[in-house]
């Protein structure tokens, strides 16, 4: 992975930078000793590491503003960081950058059940947002699988999704407003507790901009009343084609499940060995979950089960208790951990049109043979968001590169069939150099023009999202 050469001038200004930061921030909010900055050298994409120049951990929007103003004046790049759980290298530092971590900003600022929103500082974790409103039976809908650890700041930066977005949408559909600090230190407010904002949809533009347009310090989030109940059903099929037809038929029948999850045989076997969830050994497994009162669930599952039976399942398991529901979800929820037990793995995140599922799985199988690397597929089938997990051995020379090449081919395939490179993890550095496979130069140019507006010096989250060749002229300017 190419990264731009660090700016020697900036590195040379380190002591001056640190003393300016210490003038405005408490001592314990500035980390600059090399042994300590190393803790921030990577996020969850651990294959790439680089210690930053310094790390700052502000506690307020004002402190974030002070930090950005100083860095802006001194021309120091800034890498915003939530909880550091990005799988795409979205928070990878450069040697000449300051990491701005919002982990200390975890306050709940306002909760309003009548208007159905919560306002939080963005260092708060995703799950603890739901935790803050659970006593009134409310929840925050986007549920990325890292939700125990990941921060709202990162969710906004990457427009994170989750298993339940078929019904509830992703972060951008649940974000009502932000307080954001611009690179020059200016603080702006966008949106609020009302629904549609006037003027341009800057909120929609900020969400998913990977921390390159500003640092979001506070967020107004939509909260929803919890449904009365939820129940999953598990079904196994002999072929992924048939499983794909089942998904399509369920959707066409007018049922809108909250989740439709898909696992293929390699993934089923790995999770069985690890979690013993009692999954059938079959080519394709679906978990479909619906919500409502018991009677409403019965009504929806009646439709779903009739469709499932019509396609001759090798297994069809209804849940009759919370324990059985938990067992149905157990294997799916431990899928990543299970694959990790076998080997190192790389988790991909492309999206495809649902109708292309059988074709794409067949091609991935063929490529797996060509590359000599095993792959398992976990998949949000309702919305076409795939998570192929490629197994490799990090200690074997050349294996990581081989795995990356395989991954790139899978993502190109996703684009080729009408999909995209990333459904919910973001581009980061991981998919940066594949952007030309999805976008024409002009398509990228207009996106970069947006960055020019918000961050004319290109100091925020450097070297992410755009291929370095595409951004070279702007970064040098």
């Amino acid at each position: 992975m190419d990264m731009p050469a660090p700016d020697i001038d900036v590195i040379g200004k380190k002591s001056q930078l640190i003393s300016r930061l210490l003038e405005t921030l408490p001592n314990d909010a500035v980390i600059h000793e090399e042994v300590e900055t190393r803790a921030y050298e990577c996020d969850a994409l651990t294959a790439y590491r680089c210690a930053p120049l310094a790390v700052v951990l502000p506690s307020s929007t004002q402190e974030v503003s002070d930090i950005l103003r100083i860095c802006h004046e001194m021309g120091v790049p800034v890498v915003p960081r939530g909880a550091g759980t990005s799988l795409a290298g979205g928070a990878l530092p450069t040697a000449d950058s300051v990491i701005l971590g919002v982990a200390r900003m975890t306050e709940v600022l306002e909760t309003d059940y009548d208007d159905r929103f919560i306002r939080v500082q963005t260092g708060r974790t995703n799950l603890s947002v739901t935790g803050a409103v659970e006593e009134e039976d409310f929840f925050y809908a986007p549920d990325p699988s890292s939700q125990l650890a990941c921060a709202i700041a990162g969710n906004i930066a990457m427009n994170s999704g989750g298993a339940h977005c078929l019904k509830y949408g992703v972060t951008t559909n649940n974000l009502l407003g932000v307080t954001m600090v611009m690179m020059n230190g200016e603080v702006i407010e966008i949106g609020g507790a009302h629904l549609d904002a006037g003027g341009y949809d800057l909120l929609g533009l900020i969400c998913g901009s990977e921390g390159q347009l500003g640092v979001v310090t506070e967020a107004t989030l939509r909260i929803l009343r919890k449904p009365e109940g939820a129940r999953p059903v598990l079904m196994g099929y002999d072929s992924s084609e048939v499983a794909g037809e089942v998904v399509s038929d369920i959707i066409r029948a007018g049922v809108l499940p909250v989740a439709i999850e898909f696992m293929d045989r390699p993934c089923i076997r790995a999770t069985e060995a690890f979690a013993h969830a009692g999954y059938p050994d079959c080519e394709a497994l679906l978990i479909v979950e619906v919500e409502g009162s018991d009677a409403e669930i019965d009504e929806q599952l009646g439709v779903i089960l009739a469709i499932a039976r019509r396609h001759n399942p090798v297994e069809l398991r209804e849940s009759r208790s919370p324990e059985e529901s938990a067992r149905i979800w157990l294997g799916r929820k431990s899928a990543f951990g299970a694959m990790g037990q076998i080997n190192d793995y790389m988790c991909l995140d492309g999206t495809i049109p649902v109708s292309q599922l059988p074709h794409v799985l067949r091609r991935i199988g063929e490529m797996s043979k060509d590359y000599g690397l095993d792959v398992g597929n976990v998949f949000h089938a309702g919305d076409g968001n795939m998570h192929p997990l490629i197994l490799f051995d990090a200690n074997k020379p050349g294996d990581l590169e081989l795995c990356e090449a395989f991954g790139a081919d899978i993502l190109r395939l996703c684009v080729e069939v009408g999909g995209c490179l990333t459904g919910e993890h973001g581009v980061g550095i991981e998919k940066r150099d594949l952007m030309f496979d999805q976008f024409a130069p002009d398509d990228l140019d207009i996106q970069m023009a947006v960055k020019d507006v918000f961050d004319p010096k290109w100091l925020l989250n450097p070297a992410k999202v755009f291929p370095l060749t595409a951004s070279a002229g702007r970064r040098a300017a």
Binding site: G192, G292, E296, S355, G418, A440, I446
Partner: protein
């Protein structure tokens, strides 16, 4: 100018030597009046791709909304965000286009549960002010590849680029619906009733209130739910219990009747054919009634509340500036003569830093300033 293809659209914009007034069906003349040669998208029409099993639809921007709705209905599906038809309110003729819906981010009563137009917009193709053909997003439901210009284009009213193609997430049309009716509530009580309903787990897909001036002497409060038959019956029953304190609840189950009522609410039929300007306010739902009282004091003649109180429509005397000084939300002047729309800001004025960003975006997307210049600011 009426391009028949995206490439022709691109050539027309690249070759334009003055301002362009970009229109779809021309049924929503909202915004400051624009001088310029008319660029109409109506001939850029047709369904490009529709996969009912994937809930995705791709159409050319000039496609009539009616055609989109017909194509979806044939598969038992619909646009979830219930776009308003502005013709009755604005007294316009012609066929509304899907591109116009997107350009104005038009959403209806279901917005509280399903989301807005922008929430269902998966991808756009558009031509910028220099004639470049650009794309963003795509036709899949989950996509975070690059910046989200899809959202930016929704509601930008042709000032950043001219839409040539749009793709949507669509949803199944539920087989059943029910509406709970409450009569005679004042606006504060109606706000509380709507709030109690939306706060429940029973998935309300519409919550509206018509003030007494708009509904022949007695105010009306309506709560809508949709879904499978047994589920709708169950939820209607539970909601009726929940709302018992607010007075007598009657339940409407006739689907055609419900469709008619909510089309009228969606299109603000209560104001059709009545003289006066029309303003639209987006606020916190619990502030709806307070705003309503203020608007009445400022001279409003009739009010309609939607989105559980979060959307307020006001019929007001012609030419009056009805934007309150301190408004936690925003006000838009939807219907007024050209003089009023030139004198008063149509959209909520932006604070200087946001104004600067908006202008800088326009300068990048349309460096010559020829696309609907001045319409949004």
């Amino acid at each position: 100018m009426e391009p028949v293809s995206e490439s022709e659209l691109s050539e027309m914009i690249a070759g334009a030597d003055g301002p362009l007034r970009v229109v779809g069906g021309g049924t929503r003349p909202v915004g400051r009046p624009v001088e310029g040669a008319t660029l109409a998208l109506t001939r850029l029409s047709g369904v490009v791709d529709y996969e009912p099993g994937a809930l995705t639809l791709v159409v050319k921007a000039g496609t009539p909304v009616a055609e989109v709705e017909r194509v979806l209905a044939a598969e038992g599906q619909r646009l979830p965000f219930e776009p308003m038809d502005h013709r009755g309110l604005l007294g316009t003729k012609g066929a509304p286009t899907i591109g116009g819906v997107v350009a104005a981010n038009v959403s209806g009563p279901r917005r509280i549960q399903a989301g807005a137009c922008r929430d269902h917009l998966l991808g756009v193709r558009f031509v910028d002010g220099t004639g470049r053909i650009l794309k963003n997003g795509g036709r899949v439901m989950k996509n975070v590849t690059g910046y989200d210009l899809v959202k930016l284009m929704a509601g930008s009213r042709g000032t950043l680029g001219v839409l040539s193609e749009v793709s949507f997430k669509v949803l199944p049309e539920p087989p059943a619906a029910a509406v709970l009716h409450l009569g005679g509530l004042d606006e504060t009580r109606a706000g509380e009733a709507m709030c109690a309903a939306i706060r429940s787990p029973f998935e309300v897909t519409g919550a509206a209130h018509l003030s007494e001036e708009t509904s022949s002497g007695t105010s009306k409060t309506l709560i809508r739910i949709e879904g499978f038959d047994a589920s709708v019956s169950y939820r209607a029953g539970r909601l009726a219990d929940l709302l018992a304190d607010f007075g007598e609840v009657t339940i409407e189950r006739d689907k055609a009747e419900i469709a008619r009522d909510w089309r009228a609410l969606r299109d603000v039929a209560a104001f059709h054919g009545r003289a006066g300007d029309v303003w639209r306010y987006s606020v916190r739902p619990t502030q709806g009634a307070t705003l309503g009282a203020l608007l009445r004091a400022m001279g409003a003649r009739a009010l309609q509340y939607d989105w559980g109180g979060g959307l307020v429509w006001a019929l007001v005397p012609e030419g009056a500036d009805m934007r309150p000084d301190r408004l936690d939300g925003h006000a838009t002047l939807i219907r007024a003569d050209e003089e009023t729309r030139t004198r008063l800001p149509v959209f909520q004025p932006e604070v200087p830093p946001i104004q600067k960003i908006s202008q800088a975006l326009r300068d990048r997307f349309d460096p010559r300033g020829i696309l609907n210049p001045g319409l949004m600011g």
